[in-house]
Symmetry: C2
Subunit: 270 residues, 2 copies
């Protein structure tokens, strides 16, 4: 019998996630998106474990992780509960559930953004409700406040985190405004990868004021509902982070320009 070659395909390793890690991530997700704000109290352990479909011990295990990370505070007693103490979420709490993406493929994330986000923003402009716009405005406000706080100052770690959070919240708000759960999911997958780029790139931002401006422009564009304006604002917002990343990483992105209909994507001169 002739020897059948074992397939040349290589399988990527699976990373097993413990339920408590998933639970912890879900809670950070709610904080990241702005659904629960700093200082707020989460539901009781009983209610939470019921909502999340896990036992209370498992939930407590997750809370232990969050307390250790300084994200929440747990107080006993009748007026006690689980309180959000910080919006700075350590990177090791998130990013588990997804297959590993090599760091060298970071530009593929940026390319995917250019391909995906403009159209999401267009759809968001069509279906955004007042509360959606409210969430977007909140994200822009956070960016503005962070910007004001660090005006004429060296960008601290806290400032970088603030800008990152604002951008992430804005993107989530836009995705939700489409009223399309599938798109929200896809955006979350993308943002999980983005977080990595952002924390590395934000330090290299030439001017966080400019970053805030692009965020504000995107909001205005979506409010206007004009597709051309939306595309332009989205492109410049992504472009800003791309150049910051290039500066931080010390290498150029492949910068594959995504062709888009009859509209020529703006190419930066270099």
């Amino acid at each position: 019998m002739k020897r059948i070659q074992p397939t040349r395909f290589v399988f990527q390793p699976v990373q097993l996630v413990r339920p408590c890690e998933v639970v912890a991530y879900r809670i950070t997700e709610a904080i990241r998106s702005g659904d629960v704000k700093i200082g707020e109290r989460l539901p009781s352990e009983q209610s939470l474990s019921a909502q999340l479909g896990v036992s209370r011990p498992t939930l407590r295990e997750a809370l232990k992780l969050l307390v250790q990370a300084g994200v929440v505070e747990v107080l006993p007693g009748s007026s006690g509960g689980i309180f959000v103490t910080s919006e700075r979420i350590p990177p090791e709490l998130g990013g588990f559930p997804l297959p590993e993406l090599p760091l060298q493929d970071i530009d593929s994330v940026m390319e995917a953004r250019r391909l995906f986000e403009p159209h999401v923003a267009r759809l968001a402009a069509m279906y955004a409700t007042p509360s959606d716009f409210e969430r977007m405005r909140e994200a822009v406000s956070l960016s503005e406040e962070t910007c004001k706080k660090f005006k004429n100052k060296k960008i601290s770690e806290e400032g970088a985190q603030g800008m990152t959070l604002a951008s992430t919240r804005f993107n989530i708000a836009v995705a939700r405004a489409t009223q399309n759960e599938m798109i929200v999911q896809m955006m979350e997958v993308m943002l999980r990868r983005m977080e990595m780029v952002r924390t590395m790139a934000v330090h290299a931002l030439p001017d966080i004021g400019l970053s805030t401006q692009t965020l504000r422009d995107s909001l205005l564009a979506i409010e206007s509902g004009d597709p051309v304006q939306i595309d332009a604002a989205t492109a410049s917002r992504i472009g800003l982070l791309e150049s910051a990343w290039e500066k931080a990483a010390g290498k150029r992105l492949r910068r594959r320009t995504v062709s888009r209909g009859a509209i020529a994507a703006p190419r930066r001169s270099h």
Copy 2:
């Protein structure tokens, strides 16, 4: 002390996945994508467990699931090994790792496809390698063969599965042709949801020959590299499934047409 309201936010339940289920899914993924074909032998248990980063018993547990599902066959001896016996993958083997998406939001999946796929196809046209085109052609061939086999016959379960598999493989091949790992991941997330729609809709397809034709058209369009042609082919391919789904489900999709180009977005009053 004033009572602090527990947050009004509700958390979605988490679903825990066992390692062996993840492993089983990963193997089915390789089959679904066409990386390993029917009759082929997979690497040895030792090699596989090493590649996947799990212990051999865990892998064996996963294999047990696959054997039970009739997907693979495990033979002892020196010329034995793990062989793929079927490309029909029972739905309960996949789709675990993702948060539950209510069936009513099925049209959001279709909307996301309309938003995402044309641009993926355009990028694929720019970066596809000969082997990428080869994979696309293989998918089209599978569709053609399935079509021929069931010409003038009632569409059997097997035929429906074959058409579904061909479409899925085509989509994976196109996504891979972009040479962008992020886009491949996003496509996989989408396809996992699609599977559900497909198996329900394919039975209602008016003519599987027409379905094959749209697949062939998409391939030709990507080979031509013309954006307009690509958009048209992709749209008609998606449209065919949409109308089949409407027929199967007995209700109309919201059919939000994704505005493209200079078309003004209609604003909803609220």
